[in-house]
């Protein structure tokens, strides 16, 4: 048996433990922008959840990319999604085409999201039988596209996310969502983004360097970890700041100016 994957800066900032544990029952929000995508964090967390040392289950709601895209990326990182799907450890909902087909049958977007939640809830309930203690992670790959599918009805999306949040409380599963920060920057009161940030336990902000793109530093991350427990009755917020460089099989994280 190989040893657990080593922790990198991101894992430490997220509060994962070196044994592969930690980080259950939380909500993580990833915010990115046009110039720098935050999808690589989802890949990392997906790989982490599906690591052979745990028996965690991932429910993946894909709005942005088809399965083949993720399969190719994760295969390079050393994780075979097809096999995980066959092992029922990955439940992949491809919302790219499904949505369109259903809509033609005259369903409204409220019906669609409700049906989707039904599927998610069922999947979670099946996986979390009292016998085994498998942790479940729900990953939503683009909340802003969900908004598009809901025809701009922020309330529907928020309802959906609230339901998912209630699952985290009920079954102890984690929720990881990706959203685009810059879409809301010109809005007066971006309800969706504000509420997401309020609900999230960890907010990861992905930004390009202010000096523009570079080959050896692809951008910077700000990880805001809310409510760390420092012993009984004490909690604090922690902000971590570092830079990253994305490669095919992994991502290098380092503190500014500290690249080895």
């Amino acid at each position: 048996m190989t040893s657990a994957p080593p922790l990198n800066l991101l894992d430490e900032a997220l509060g994962f433990l070196s044994g592969g544990g930690g980080g259950g029952g939380r909500m993580i929000l990833v915010e990115d922008c046009v110039e720098t995508t935050g999808a690589f964090i989802l890949h990392h967390l997906l790989k982490r959840s599906l690591s052979p040392h745990s028996s965690d289950v991932v429910v993946f709601l894909s709005f942005a990319h088809p399965f083949s895209h993720y399969d190719r990326i994760l295969r390079k990182m050393g994780c075979n999604l097809v096999m995980q799907r066959d092992n029922k450890r990955l439940l992949f909902f491809d919302m790219l085409m499904l949505d369109r087909l259903d809509r033609d049958k005259g369903k409204t977007s409220a019906d669609l999201l409700l049906a989707l939640y039904g599927k998610v809830q069922k999947a979670v309930e099946v996986c979390s039988s009292p016998v085994d203690t498998r942790r479940i992670t729900i990953i939503i790959d683009d909340v802003s596209l969900m908004e598009v599918d809901a025809n701009g009805s922020t309330n529907l999306v928020l309802d959906f996310l609230h339901y998912c949040c209630s699952l985290t409380a009920q079954f102890g599963c984690s929720l990881i969502t990706l959203n685009h920060d810059d879409v809301y920057s010109t809005m007066d009161r971006p309800t969706l983004l504000l509420q997401l940030e309020y609900l999230a336990d960890v907010v990861i902000k992905v930004e390009p360097l202010v000096t523009g793109p570079a080959t050896d530093v692809h951008g910077q991350l700000t990880v805001l970890n809310k409510g760390l427990q420092d012993g009984p009755g004490k909690s604090r917020n922690k902000v971590n700041n570092f830079q990253f460089r994305i490669k095919d099989s992994f991502v290098e994280y380092f503190y500014p100016g500290n690249r080895s």
């Binding site: 701009g152 920057s185 994305i246 490669k247």
Partner: protein, 362 residues
């Protein structure tokens, strides 16, 4: 756990069969990560984007409200498709979109013209007397050049595309002015794309060009969410088929949040900008200012099947009309330029710009 060990290696070899089929298809070539490229019709743009436009990607062009430079990109994109006999959909808010086909440029005929114009970096390494170059080229990289010229042609913007390119082609022109909603247009696109299935042994690709999606002539231009869901579903249809769509939109006419959403939807994002005619400051700063017609910036390059971002050497390029007929893109030259690196315009002998080289205060 042991079951996880013998998973298939990441070095997959199974493209070799497909690649043979593809290499025979003109106008397509293989990119990394199992993607395939087709040419944008501008060789310089292909080079910048790492080979071309990836099949299955959505390209967005942000227009400049003051100048129709996006039309240059669209024209070359469409003409390239017709040269390669690829099916084409063109949609525009104009009343008679078919008329636009008459303005498409014709591929440049003479071969030595082409060889001279875009092999500047070869010249840098090795300077040979001009008249011997054709022997050298034939000896050295004959097959290479042949395949390259087939993949992307250079276009002569002054000559209209010859009639025979239109014959027997699957060209669909749609006026967005007539249709009240985008559902009909989407259905037309998806039925059009379903005629070109993806995993066919003989790969054919299709092109979709949409001009000025959000322009106020269209009835749906105030329904932002409808347009977004159109673009989103078009994107997912394209992803699963062998097509590339280029959509241009005017960002100044839509709300900033909407524009950002469109930019997020794009796989490849490019913006064009006109440059003011008499900008003394800029003229001093950049060499070859007189020949420039505009600036082109690349904001995002399609990342299909990979998580590694494409980092370009430069993101802003100048668009120039070489000899007033072929569109080329060049890095902005800010430093003083001697004759060796500026071949492509130094040799063109532009009537007005010859005094420019070397008058820089840097």
């Amino acid at each position: 756990m042991a079951a996880n060990k013998p998973r298939s290696s990441s070095f997959s070899r199974n493209f070799s069969a497909a690649s043979n089929a593809v290499s025979n298809t003109p106008g397509l070539k293989h990119g990394p990560n199992g993607t395939m490229f087709l040419s944008s019709g501008i060789p310089d743009l292909d080079k910048m984007l790492g080979g071309g436009l990836a099949l299955g990607s959505l390209v967005m062009v942000m227009e400049d409200p003051e100048a129709p430079h996006h039309m240059l990109l669209l024209r070359n994109f469409m003409a390239q498709g017709l040269v390669h006999h690829q099916p084409l959909i063109y949609a525009s808010p104009a009343k008679d979109p078919r008329g636009f086909l008459g303005t498409l440029p014709n591929p440049m005929a003479s071969k030595d013209d082409k060889a001279r114009s875009h092999d500047t970096e070869q010249e840098k390494g090795l300077r040979i007397a001009w008249q011997y170059k054709k022997y050298f080229g034939e000896q050295n990289s004959d097959s290479h050049r042949d395949s390259k010229s087939e993949y992307s042609s250079e276009f002569d913007l002054r000559k209209p595309l010859e009639r025979h390119f239109f014959n027997g082609q699957n060209i669909d022109c749609i006026s967005l002015k007539d249709s009240a909603d985008l559902a009909a247009f989407h259905d037309r696109c998806s039925s059009f794309l379903s005629q070109t299935p993806r995993n066919n042994g003989n790969v054919t690709s299709a092109r979709i060009a949409v001009q000025s999606l959000c322009s106020p002539q269209c009835e749906f231009s105030n329904k932002e969410w409808e347009m977004l869901s159109f673009v989103r579903s078009l994107k997912s249809v394209i992803r699963l088929s062998n097509a590339v769509a280029v959509i241009t939109f005017p960002p100044s006419l839509v709300s900033p949040a909407f524009s950002k959403r469109l930019q997020h939807l794009a796989d490849t994002l490019v913006s064009v900008k006109a440059i003011p005619d008499e900008d003394k400051e800029l003229a001093k700063l950049l060499t070859g200012y007189q020949d420039m017609v505009g600036l082109l910036s690349v904001h995002k390059v399609a990342r299909i099947n990979t998580q590694v971002p494409a980092i370009l050497e430069a993101t802003t390029f100048s668009m120039k009309l070489q000899k007033r007929r072929s569109l080329i893109l060049e890095c902005l030259n800010q430093a003083p330029v001697d004759g060796s690196s500026g071949t492509s315009y130094a040799s063109s002998g532009s009537c007005s710009g010859s005094s420019k080289t070397g008058t820089l205060d840097f």
